[in-house]
Amino acid sequence: MNWFDDWALPLGVFLPAVGMVLLFFIPKKNETAIKATALLTTVVTFAVGVVILFRFNYHSGTLQFTVNEQWIPVIHSRFHVGIDGISLPLLVLSMFICILAVIYSWDHFPEPRNPRAFLALILLLEVGMNGTFAAQDLILFFVFFEFVLLPMFFMIGVWGGPNRQYAAIKFFLFTLFGSALMLVAFLALYFLSKHPTFDMVQLAKMHGEGIAYGTQLLVFGGLFLGFAIKVPIFPFHTWLPDAHTEAPTVGSVLLAAIMLKLGTYGFVRIAIPFLPRAAQAWAPWIGLLAVIGIIYGSLCCLAQRDMKRLIAFSSVAHMGFVMLGIATLTNFGINAAIFGMVAHGLITGMLFFVAGSIQERFNTREMSRLGGLLTQAPKLGWILGFCAMASLGLPGLAGFWGEFPAILSAYQPAGNISDITFRVYMVVAAVGTVLAAGYLLWMFQKVAFGTPKDEFKDAHIHDVHGPEWIAWTPLLVLIVVLGIYPNFLFKVTDPAVTRETKQVAAVLQQANRPKTEAANR
């Protein structure tokens, strides 16, 4: 199977592109063939992911399935891809969610109806997302990272809600702004490092060697902005509610489930291992913004009347937990962060699906107009309740494992990051869980409990049906399975995370030593 190991990642990344090209050879009228081709493409891509899952060595924390070929020698950029325990779950999640997105689209194509273009965009998006998680070269990473913007831009701009143009442009420009600074930071890394290279493995090994400490802080700042906007971290989050509210259901799902993770993944993969010392200096500030995001996002949720916008703001709060875990630079924190990313992908993705289906049935997402969903569509109602419980971090469901270890990690952050500061964050984050219960359960109460309002009293509301069941069941099952036995995921991430945090800790120990000795004297 050696040939597979060599081809696994290029296939996993570019197969959707092949499928997309195929779509354009199928006449627009032959809708079934178009849908089938798109579905088949995503399934085959996922099959590659499944084989990777079987052939992956879970005990080693190193890169696997690497391909390292010449690409653009002028700038020493190579086509270098590879995955480890940090990227594997996200890559497979991305492949998986794309299948569900295609299935859900089956009879939920948004207006103006154009299945071929819509599905092509999903496939294109998948190329960018998979590529980002596989890339091991900064230029390659950047290309994929930016590439994702385009399909999403069109998805929002063409198939979005009434305010779609504003939302799409805001999304695009905001992210592009961050990317510009990120690119500058990449270039700085290239030019200033001891050995100029874009190779992420090499850069991670150098830990910013050769770059003056003050410059490291600045470069980290550039990376921070690029990733923070993508996450998004407070106060760079304002594109998110607009994009989510306006995007078509599938767009929201992909945005929440995968695209937000590109930013947090960037922190774990690039910012922290490349510049551990700068990460240590920035950590209290990142942690601060993270916990502000938790509380602030929750408060904004409480003020919402639109269900979808509420879920969008809840992402700000949830990504706050992820960022808090990352900011501690500990194995607990980063393991929790990756778990949190996957769990948030499953749960919030599910919530957006449900919100979309509610809108489709009632033509509104105004919570004050809804009510009594449990009497009209009990299954849909209970699924909403289940997702709300998962989202508020109920133990036994996946969301808990993103929150609890993150809170735990904040008790004792790495290096010489202030314990006291992070213990305050720990308490604030724990308080955030109460607010999460608040906005989710009030939402559930308004939408599902009670009796239907007069305007929908006699409306015929059909309960969950075919494609919805097929698209949702895997998500629901995964939320439960990962919640009960979290080691399915921790087993994957832990070796790679431990490897990274050990290296970071070693660098920090060396860097911090002279200072402590001086202080002792």
Partner: protein, 684 residues
Amino acid sequence: MIDYAWVIPLVPAISFVLILFFGKRMKYKGAEIGIAAVGASFVMACIVAGQWIAKFHHAPETGVKAVTHAGLWWQNGGQKITAGIQIDGLAAMMMFVVTLISLLVHIYSTAYMHDDRRYTYYFAALSLFTASMLLLVVADNTLLMLCGWELVGLCSFMLIGHWWEEEPNSNAALKAFFTTRTGDVGLLIGVVLTWFMVKAATGRGSFNIVAVNKAALGGKVSHTLVLVCASGLLIAIIGKSGQFPLHTWLPDAMAGPTPVSALIHAATMVVAGVYLGARLYGIFWSGFSIGHGGVNVMAAIGGITIIIGAVLAFVQRDIKKVLAYSTISQLGYMVMALGVGAWTAAIFHLFTHAFFKALLFLGAGSVSHSGSHHSFDMKEDMGGLRKYMPQTFTTFVIGAIALAGIFPLAGFWSKDEILVTANQGSYDVFLYVGLVGAFLTAAYMTRCVYLTFFGEYRGHGHPHESPPAITVPLWILAFFAVVAGILNAPHVDLFKKWINPSSVVGRTVDPELIHHIFARFTEPTFDTTAATISVLIALVGIAIGALYYFGDKGPHGLTQRSGAAKVGYTFLENKYYLDHLYTDVIVGGVKGPIANASYWVNQHVIDGVVNGAGKGTSLLANFTYDVLDRKVVDGAINETANATGWVGGRFRGLQSGKVQQYALVLFGAVGLASFVLALVYVVS
């Protein structure tokens, strides 16, 4: 069986899934699955209890060790974190109580919930409720306890809001969830600290209960850390076990079906807090320095709760609310007992209270089911029911006497043991608090019995006795309410042999713990004087209640005559205004002005900056085009100006929303870039 005790929570958990998916198709709509599952769990729990007791026949000097089994759960930093069971006397006793009461509640519900609109769903939730509580009970580590704890909260949310069509019910469910969740902030932090406590003591973190207790008692961990951990966990107990000041959700939780109230108040949910306190007692003992006597926060919270709960029970018209405040007060006894070092007494009181409180709730349900036409209002719809419902009446009175602590019923023995321990452990203040509580308890139960069963029938229904599915559970519980106390009577002393505080370190006899740490507290000597006094006080309570209600003596109508009394009464009727503080001030504030202000900031300040930047750029582009290009540069350097103008124009077009145009540019740019990259690749 004892080695496979993890099956006991698993069976009702499976039952939950089965009822959910197949319940509606079954002959009895899923009830039979639930009853069979909980029945099986009950049998297994009895076997486990028997096996535990059997271990004492040939017990070695070092005592009987807890049975533990664990498996991999998750990992971090290469360290395996396990989940498993720890079965000892405490767990075995709890499993017995939980499964027994749950089984009776199941049977009772087949009659009580007969025509319910969500009968199947109700039984599914009961199964999950039982499973969650059992998970909490068997758990061998604090994190697993946290899981069970939260799931218990979820199930009570589901069941309190069972009739969610009406808003007060769903409000009550949300209130219960939020209030306990507020306490759970303490639990989250407490559980985090248990890990670091063990890490501080041994160098390697762990959530294991025995390891945590040993670390807390071992003296290697800084007292501050233990104190903070104990405080966090105490906050969790306050939330879950309805202690002052977070008790306000418990009376509202009466919105759920009555059998659920019985389950919540006797065997699950609220006793989870007390159970946690007992399981992790090492942390409280050492954090609050319980061995030193005087006053500590845990005992104080318990003591305050005894009184405020009991006082509120006097002003209720709703029979279930009387019982709810009574539960609050009795939970206060248990928490106070833990606070004064009376570990065994606290657990013993939990044990006896479970029977008579379940009995009283199910009795109240029986009254409303067959006597008062689904009302719980004692003043409007009850009275004189003893003639119509003799069995319900007899069992209810047995429960009331047991609760009042009259010799020789169950409540007497357990309450007495708490008081004696408080006395002998130099916690005098709490002895008096306990005695006042005993007086109040006896008096409000007299009032309750009088209003419900004596006088003239005031309702409008046709009262009759309830069917056997309801009365049989009542009699079974009445039996336990009479005899359960004997287990720990002087010269019997079986309960404290099987279940004692050294179980916190995983074995029943730990020489060091028993004789040096807990000694004075665990083996209080029975004190006839104290027992007599407490019974007398309870009798006085009954007598005064009887005089006031039956004999119509005393200051009736005082609230009309005296301004001060009226103010006091209003203060009580408004439940010390705590609900107003929480609902209107705190929750209303967060949900209303604070949330809206945050959102306003988001839309106008933060987003204002973003939009401002966009508009600024747009203006700059226009400026570039209109002013710089047309007026300044134009004519001077034509070529450059044209280029700038083109860019500016594009930019403006984008800002005014010409998406297609923009798309074209972007796709063009990317296409061009790809082409260039490909070219570079090919050429090189």
